[in-house]
Symmetry: C2
Subunit: 247 residues, 2 copies
């Protein structure tokens, strides 16, 4: 149940059997199933609990009065949506299901107790939140400085590496359950231009994308056209010194 989350957090720190049990417990709390297009939470709502993505993809997005929509993040299996968001009294953005989605609703008390009950998990969740912020900044870099090809290529590199970190890639392929229109909302490009950009990437043999499956024949090549530097994902286990000893 919590396999993705555990796998993800172990990029930062090794967890004890007890830690893993606690995460399993959290992942089992009031599981919710949503269909593509439904919202997990909506802008303006009071945040109640902490949402953990168990399966499927979600997006963090905001809407302008006139309907323009920007996807600010893709949330993948194992991702926690704002561990401490309940400090705020209203959501400043929405979270929507990009595919069939399973989320666990973790009670805030479970999160608040972590420093005492499972300090390693607490620390790992900090790490997770910091990585989320780093990704957000990298998206600003893309939106502000990268051209269309670089932007889409970068998004693919990032997504592939994040999925690989939780074991959701097979060889050089992964699922990409989003429409071109949604890619456009994430990259700040029109749907039409996303389409042309994909054709461009295909023509350069940098990607294959068909039936919601993305293949990256040469990740290094895609990375260099995207100016992608993996460092910002902080997957290099900086926290070894906090590792659990048992098991």
């Amino acid at each position: 149940m919590a396999a993705y989350l555990i796998r993800r957090l172990e990029h930062f720190t090794k967890l004890s059997r007890d830690d893993r049990g606690a995460l399993e417990g959290m992942a089992a709390s009031s599981v919710r199933h949503l269909a593509r297009g439904e919202d997990v939470v909506r802008e303006g709502d009071e945040p109640r609990h902490v949402n953990l993505i168990l399966d499927g993809w979600a997006s963090r997005y905001k809407t302008l009065e006139d309907g323009r929509r920007q996807i600010a993040a893709f949330l993948l299996p194992g991702d926690i949506c704002d561990a401490r968001n309940f400090i705020l009294n209203h959501m400043d953005h929405s979270i929507g299901a990009l595919s069939a989605l399973t989320v666990a609703q973790i009670p805030r008390s479970a999160i608040l107790d972590l420093p005492v009950t499972h300090p390693r998990i607490d620390r790992a969740l900090w790490w997770s939140a910091l990585v989320g912020e780093s990704i957000q900044r990298e998206w600003s870099m893309s939106l502000g400085q990268r051209d269309a090809v670089e932007r889409v290529a970068h998004l693919f590199c990032e997504t592939f590496v994040r999925l690989r970190a939780v074991g959701l890639t097979r060889g050089n392929t992964c699922e990409l359950p989003v429409t071109q229109s949604e890619l456009g909302e994430a990259t700040g490009l029109s749907t039409v231009h996303v389409n042309r950009t994909l054709q461009d990437l295909r023509a350069r043999s940098l990607i294959t994308l068909k039936d919601r499956t993305l293949a990256i024949p040469d990740l290094g090549a895609l990375q260099s056209t995207a100016l992608f530097d993996v460092g910002y994902l902080h997957l290099d286990r900086p926290g070894r010194e906090f590792d659990a000893n048992d098991d």
Copy 2:
């Protein structure tokens, strides 16, 4: 010394005299002065302590190999740069001085002790971090969806409101110690187009900008051309229930 920080945090929670004393203490820790253009920390560095902006403006920025630069955030007096960043083993971005800058270097231990020694401050720092993330998302919204005029107008609204929250506005004016080129790096526009956009905003009597001083004669008007909705800054004191009683 910590006046801006205290003023900012009190938008979230009332602080006790003891809390304020603790913040004053933190603000007094190894104060550093930088000239415009110098870096507080640089991408790749190992984060040592927590930087608190005491005076002046800083920017959080990233650079691409080929030199393209994106400013991801403006850091204003009272802002804390990543209270928990020291969990990571390298900085994924740099922080540079946009003006003459004074920062306090808070030892990480002081931050780590907060939950026990000053839980209210700890919580307020969480709020502050969440607001930072919210701002970052709103920048994505701007970069991805707003056109040049909206983008610059939005940045001005945001900056003005943030400065007002720490008492750094006078009437409808505030300082804006950044060049047009830096505005461009923040908004993803070329310097030339920033210049033309400013002229546009001036022609519509939405702003005055001269000698590093920004005046907004009609904030409501600027807000509506920017599609600015103040909610994402979370200045509406959601945390009243945690307020200190004494003093």
